[in-house]
Symmetry: C2
Subunit: 249 residues, 2 copies
């Protein structure tokens, strides 16, 4: 998932731009961590850095899947649409995340930049060649896919069975955990995505997300600091909500 605020955004943008992969600031997080210097060199030859402005589409559901990406900086949302416009956000990607693991012939979802975003782009053909020679890389990719699968199942539980309050609490804690894991501040947590994005991720409406924020605020469980930043005040209450035992706050 992605994050943002003045400070964090600056940090993200400071990361490798135009440098060879060996110096990539994201390397220790991304799949490239699996590679030796020589292999990195080879990877670097097939990589091309690309920028997307806030709101720009990276690729659309149904497009031929010609590229895979590594998020260098910024944030990305993955979106699925129904013909009548109903929208489901299936995930938020932060720096270090891999985009396009599903090596199918077409993309199963659209990807859009939430912030100004830099990506490493790999040609699909080239990656497949690389994977043949570098089993580490494939192994790492499989690990990545496995993690995404676990996250997807958690999300199914959330969408199928949790209340609005529980969904928002789960979301905020998840955001905070990820921020920490990636070295960003984890308590006032940044929310780079709009309320609509959050709603479409949690299977709710914007109005419900907003009302739920208000209720959590009134219960002193969280505090909003501006619109794109939340402070988690009562971790215990949040954890209770996430587990989903019984109500109280």
């Amino acid at each position: 998932m992605g994050y943002s605020n003045a400070l964090q955004t600056r940090a993200w943008h400071a990361q490798a731009f135009g440098k060879p992969c060996a110096n990539c600031g994201i390397r220790s997080i991304g799949i490239c961590a699996a590679l030796e210097p020589g292999e990195l060199e080879r990877l670097h030859r097939i990589v091309k850095e690309t920028r997307f402005a806030e709101g720009q589409s990276i690729f659309s559901e149904g497009d031929p899947a010609e590229s895979l990406f590594n998020v260098l900086s910024g944030a990305v949302r993955l979106v699925k649409l129904l013909p009548d416009g109903r929208r489901q956000v299936t995930g938020f990607l932060m720096p270090g995340a891999f985009l396009g693991i599903a090596l199918n012939s077409t993309y199963a979802y659209s990807a859009e930049a939430i912030l100004d975003t830099k990506l490493c782009r790999f040609g699909r053909r080239e990656i497949e060649g690389l994977l043949k020679d570098l089993p580490h890389l494939e192994h790492r990719l499989l690990g990545e896919a496995a993690n995404e699968l676990v996250a997807a199942q958690d999300q199914m539980l959330l969408l199928g069975r949790k209340t609005a309050k529980e969904r928002l609490a789960s979301f905020l804690v998840c955001l905070s955990r990820n921020a920490k894991r990636h070295g960003f501040p984890d308590n006032p947590v940044a929310l780079p995505m709009s309320r609509t994005d959050i709603a479409d991720f949690l299977g709710l409406t914007t109005e419900t997300v907003s009302r739920t924020f208000t209720r959590l605020r009134q219960a002193k469980v969280v505090a909003l600091e501006g619109n794109a930043m939340v402070r988690l005040l009562d971790r215990r209450a949040l954890d209770d909500l996430i587990a989903g035992g019984d109500e109280e706050a």
Copy 2:
């Protein structure tokens, strides 16, 4: 996803039991399809066939992930629970499916046999050794994971944004497609799982699933043939519901 009825159940149970992997009836579907005869021999040495009776637990969420499985016959449901008993079924597995791709230290969900079920069991350690030597296998596994990821995203869209009628229609068509793909009858489609399982998979209650079946039946879109078998009558109407454009039926 799984299926059942007298005929189909018989077919499943007729498949390889105690035979070496080379003769495994499921091989062309499962991950083993990626292997050469010599490699299969090696696989066979680390495999152990296991049976689970209907309703039996194969493993539970949180258990150390010591085994991976291949479904030979029967059907399996994957379940996540909240402490207060709310339940989400995250998937149904049919013969040929792979169970436990997430190579994490503990299982992220429980697996339970819906029918009497036979599985190939692989030790985790052994599989990891095998993967080191057989890149094909890892590649195949990655492909499998990618497919599951796509299915998971579709399910998020369903859980987050579809109506009860659309959810049930999507489920039935998906079931039918899978049956066809696996060589089972795809029009009267078998439903080996209970209404409760369906409800917990679709994020609904049993009552709503039942009422929705009734509405689809009254609209002559489907016909129930016994409780564990549905005939899809109006494919067009089903497809419209799945796409989720606008209502009518």
